[in-house]
Symmetry: C2
Subunit: 130 residues, 2 copies
């Protein structure tokens, strides 16, 4: 993986975002520093970096792909109205399941557990008229 200024800036911009932006948001921000960068480059680098483990591609509901500079898996809250994503400020219990058959995962490879609450965020909750 070659070091390029595009990749650097994309990573830096993402790192400053705690709101799990999509590619287009990152693109707009990166353009302030690299006006000639293309959307394709942003998509390509987000893919490459998430595959190398440098960043996380969120596996949650919603219609766009979102990225997170935080690698450590953690639960999210998604507003069904405005689409905003928040980190949940608490941890998941280790013993998540009951009545789990011991052999269910035989033959499967379990990689990840994604936890997502949905509902209305604070600002959408207060703006039923909009």
């Amino acid at each position: 993986m070659r070091k390029t200024k595009q990749r650097d800036v994309i990573l830096r911009v993402l790192s400053e975002h705690m709101d799990h932006p999509g590619a287009d948001t990152i693109y707009e921000e990166v353009r302030k520093f690299l006006p000639r960068i293309s959307l394709g480059t942003v998509y390509r680098n987000l893919d490459i970096m998430s595959e190398s483990g440098a960043i996380t591609k969120l596996e949650i509901g919603g219609s766009i792909k979102r990225f997170d500079p935080v690698i450590n898996p953690h639960p999210h809250f998604r507003c069904v109205k405005c689409g905003s994503i928040e980190d949940l400020p608490f941890e998941i219990n280790k013993s998540l399941f009951s009545d789990k058959p011991d052999n269910w995962d035989n033959g499967r490879t379990i990689q990840n557990l994604n936890i997502e609450y949905t509902g209305l965020c604070i600002s959408c909750n207060g703006n039923s008229h909009s």
Copy 2:
């Protein structure tokens, strides 16, 4: 909500699918019974029925919208390679979180909790060459 034969067949086809199909899969199956149905009608009815609560629109990762005839919320397993979805054969513990601030949900409306495991399903696990 008017009763139409398109809606009936879509619901019937979905009810026979436990693999959480997308709109195009449902469309192909429904066409066997209603050859002149359009994809748009399938999408429209899936939306209408999920909003009325007759079926569930899955809120999980992946690039297509998937539907479930089972209304009761339950955890899923998604294969990152082939995209197949399985129901998990066990329940979620009631006390899911620890260190949860009591007032976190103040101002928010919590509607749903989505739980999704990801990994490799049985057939993809055994076919690393494909």
